[in-house]
């Protein structure tokens, strides 16, 4: 990299005020041409706001953005793209029923004839080794392939700065390696990359520089190659990171939750059929289900917690068949659950936290008498959840929608865990949750298991499953693999199962000496 080149992007004193929150407080950092620059921070640290201002979705209240040395203002995403800024969002904006080509054409600022566009797409894909058939319908693609559409869409504009927002949260380890090869190649050609992630080992593996934000301020700019994951995490949270404490000599008890030959047809055209799923979780055991998003995890959670009924004998708690029981009846028997989607599924955004407590805890904790809700009992319990899980909220009367994603997740996890379930099923327990909060949630899950509950953790985050679970299996296209003991299984093995039939042989090729180590 030539030190004489002007900085690709330079932010000086960027400040953005929202009602009640200073989202960015005099943020300054710079990105050199060809640099892979990580933006790290907890939820609510101001990363998204900052990136939105760079991409023109929001305007800073104060401060200066310089592009290739020139001060610029970026009034909208279109002008950002004109400057050469591309962005790949965490949540894809794709139409499932359209083809890859049609989706890309819809997203282009300029209208290009589709044959010309297809040629350009193929050129970009060949250049970066991105495998994708432009005529495939999006609904048939894996999440990794869908992300490639977004990347191709950004690369078609030959960007000089590519912003990637949490790109690996939905990928298999092999897909992550593949993505990193593309990003390194881009960087080598001079494209700068602003990489937002909370996966610290990835940042160590990929990035040249890391800027760490905390509460809207830059707390440090460091070299991730020198720092350890732990030191970066501690800078992020501004304190010491707690390790999960597992009590030794824990013995697993009788099977508490047994699934045998569970099959369910998909609810809609884009759902996944569940096919012959069987597993059993013992008292005190944490059982993990790994897999890439969209392989039946949501369908499985709905079947396990009773939102969708199944064959009577397919699901049993302590030997009693519960497959036909609805959620309330299963809760009374001791089964609590946390679905992946926080807003509108696990919680109602317009309702207060107290009311959201009534949603799932009313029967187990005696919050109803004679058909009336005991608001006082709900408020007290909500207060306990807020205190025990350090939920940042104005109190039990705050609406769920006013909480940040991570805080809402802490509240939801707390609400279910403090009901002391005998079986707890959670889907993506720490999705979008910062390192400090994730550690607290993990510890609470481990403690609950230690007290004798059976726990099922469905997650796309392999690191999470490996550190949390005693045993795990992999779900792919609605089928569950055999169960494996954590500690006897390699990340590569799990990754291959996760890839399933989606991956081509080249994609699932195991790179020798990969940087993933399995914690024993």
């Amino acid at each position: 990299m030539d030190a004489n080149l002007p900085l690709r992007l330079e932010l000086t004193g960027i400040t953005k005020q929202f009602p009640g929150v200073l989202a960015n407080d005099h943020v300054s950092f710079s990105v050199r041409p060809g640099e892979i620059h990580a933006l790290l921070g907890e939820n609510g640290a101001g990363k998204s706001t900052l990136v939105k201002m760079i991409y023109g979705i929001m305007q800073p209240d104060a401060g200066e953005i310089r592009w290739d040395g020139q001060p610029v203002s970026i009034p909208n995403p279109k002008s950002a793209r004109k400057l050469g800024i591309g962005m790949v969002f965490q949540h894809f904006s794709l139409f499932e029923a359209l083809t890859v080509l049609e989706n890309i054409a819809l997203g282009m600022d300029a209208k290009i004839p589709s044959r010309l566009l297809e040629a350009k797409i193929r050129e970009v894909m060949n250049q970066y080794g991105l495998k994708l058939d432009p005529h495939r319908v999006v609904s048939t693609l894996s999440v990794g392939e869908r992300q490639r559409i977004e990347i191709v869409r950004a690369l078609l504009l030959t960007p000089k700065l590519l912003i990637m927002d949490e790109p690996t949260s939905v990928l298999t380890p092999q897909e992550v390696d593949q993505l990193f090869i593309v990003l390194r190649k881009l960087a080598a050609e001079g494209c700068s990359i602003l990489y937002i992630s909370h996966k610290l080992h990835e940042i160590k593996a990929l990035c040249d520089t890391a800027t760490i934000l905390r509460a809207g301020k830059v707390v440090d700019t460091c070299d991730p190659g020198i720092e350890t994951s732990r030191s970066m995490a501690e800078k992020m949270i501004g304190g010491n990171l707690k390790d999960i404490v597992k009590q030794g000599g824990r013995s697993l008890g009788e099977p508490a939750f047994t699934i045998s030959h569970l099959s369910l047809p998909a609810a809609g055209p884009f759902g996944t059929d569940l096919e012959d799923i069987s597993f059993s979780v013992r008292k005190g055991e944490v059982f993990g289900i790994a897999g890439v998003a969209g392989n039946g995890q949501n369908e499985l959670l709905l079947a396990l917690d009773g939102e969708v009924a199944s064959a009577p004998g397919a699901i049993a708690m302590d030997g009693h068949p519960v497959g036909q029981l609805h959620t309330s009846a299963r809760r009374k028997r001791g089964l609590c659950a946390v679905p992946e989607e926080r807003n509108g599924h696990a919680a109602v955004g317009d309702f207060t936290l107290s009311e959201n407590t009534v949603l799932t805890a009313r029967n187990r904790l005696g919050m109803v008498s004679a058909g009336l809700i005991k608001a006082g009992a709900a408020r007290t319990f909500t207060g306990e959840v807020i205190a025990a899980f350090a939920v940042k909220a104005l109190g039990p009367g705050a609406t769920a929608g006013s909480l940040s994603g991570g805080n809402l997740q802490k509240y939801i996890m707390g609400r279910e865990i403090l009901q002391k379930p005998t079986v707890l099923v959670v889907n993506q327990p720490t999705w979008g949750v910062d390192a400090g909060a994730a550690a607290a949630i993990h510890q609470a899950l481990v403690d609950l298991a230690a007290s004798g509950s059976a726990i099922v953790v469905i997650s796309q985050d392999l690191d999470e499953l490996l550190s949390l679970c005693d045993t795990l299996a992999v779900i792919n296209e609605g089928r569950l693999s055999a169960r494996m003991n954590v500690g006897e299984v390699s990340v590569e093995e799990i990754g291959l199962l996760m890839g399933g039939v989606h991956g081509t042989p080249e994609e699932t090729h195991i790179a020798p000496g990969g940087e993933h180590a399995v914690p024993a």
Binding site: P77, R153, T327, T360
Partner: protein, 346 residues
């Protein structure tokens, strides 16, 4: 902002109404003053307000519960007529009897009649996924024809000179007046009690919680153990039952017999009442009075300044339009955009 939109809607209705009727050559400002202030300033009109507001409040309370559950019952008019007809059927069967049980029996029949008419869209929605807006709306017209048939045939008063109407109800079949010499009947306090009970149930009970959570987030409701199907039934039975109650109170109160002119559109106006009252039973009381003012004031304006009778409907409709528009503007802001932003993917 939640309560500012209805107030703004009413005020804007007055302003726009004044402009529209001025452009049509009437005394627009005078018309608005007649319609909106005369019923309040003239104490003689207060009991008119009460008896107009009562059915609107009873129906509006039921609709506010259904709408909270995202169940769009547009058939309150039909359920109101069905309730009145069921009560009338009991009255016609008990013409030669006497006793304090007759009126309560009519009221129970009225509630059941409204529920039965509400059950049809509930059944179609839960069993065959038919949109309840269409079915409940169409059933309004079906019941009117059933009413006309009965009044011209089996129910016609044999002593009524062939007029298509029933015999007058006996005193045991009529709703008593609150005070002798007034037209204020027991329907008025019943309406207030219905609204207060509904407010308590909606804010404190598991039933109210179920209605609200199903309406706000169906997936969360399912996760919390509330069945959507069950809620659709409850919403339509409660709103149908209350519309039926309003119907029997109206026929046993002011009408005291069933006539072809019984359907006056209260079931439709109550939709405006429910929205203007913010789907809150206490708000519905206030909104019911506001709409009653437009009815009573509209009649005043017909005689004093010769406004056409359709003026009332125009004011009521404007109120709903402006309220719905106001709600959108409270949530969203108008922004001028250039047309060339079709390719945005953010």
């Amino acid at each position: 902002m939640l309560y500012a939109a209805p107030v703004a809607a009413v005020l804007l209705t007055m302003v726009l109404g004044a402009i529209i009727f001025s452009l049509m050559g009437y005394n627009g400002v005078g018309a608005v003053i007649e319609i909106f202030t005369r019923p309040i300033t003239n104490p003689l009109k207060w009991q008119d307000l009460g008896i107009k507001a009562a059915p609107l409040v009873v129906i509006g309370v039921g609709l506010s519960i259904a709408y909270r559950a995202n169940v769009w019952n547009i058939g309150a008019e039909g359920q109101y007529i069905a309730g009145a007809m069921a009560g009338t059927a009991v009255a016609l069967l008990t013409m030669s009897m006497e006793g304090p049980w007759i009126l309560p029996a009519m009221i129970v029949a009225g509630v059941l009649g409204g529920m039965a008419w509400g059950a049809i869209p509930a059944l179609l929605k839960t069993e065959f996924a038919v949109n309840e807006i269409l079915t409940s709306l169409m059933l309004n017209y079906a019941i009117v024809h059933l009413l006309y048939f009965l009044l011209r045939g089996p129910w016609r008063d044999p002593m009524g000179f062939s007029f298509p109407q029933t015999s007058l109800f006996t005193p045991s079949q009529s709703l008593p007046y609150l005070w002798q010499g007034t037209i204020m009947h027991w329907g008025v306090p019943i309406a207030v009690i219905v609204a207060l009970v509904a407010w308590f149930v909606m804010s404190r009970s598991v039933f109210g919680f179920q209605i609200k959570v199903v309406g706000a987030a169906p997936s969360a409701a399912r996760y919390g153990g509330f069945s959507t199907r069950n809620t659709v039934w409850l919403a339509l039975l409660v709103s149908g039952g209350l519309a039926g109650l309003a119907g029997i109170l109206e026929v046993a109160g002011p009408f005291r017999q069933m006539v072809p002119g019984f359907p006056t559109g209260y079931g439709f106006t109550a939709i405006i009442v429910a929205f203007l009252g913010r789907l809150n039973p206490l708000g519905v009381i206030v909104a019911g009075i506001v709409l009653a003012i437009t009815y009573v004031g509209g009649e005043v304006a017909q005689t004093t300044i010769g406004l056409p009778s359709a003026a009332t409907g125009i004011f009521q409709a404007m109120m709903l339009f402006l309220l719905l528009a106001g709600d959108i503007l409270v949530r969203y802001r108008l922004k001028a955009v250039r047309p060339a932003t079709a390719g945005e993917t953010a």
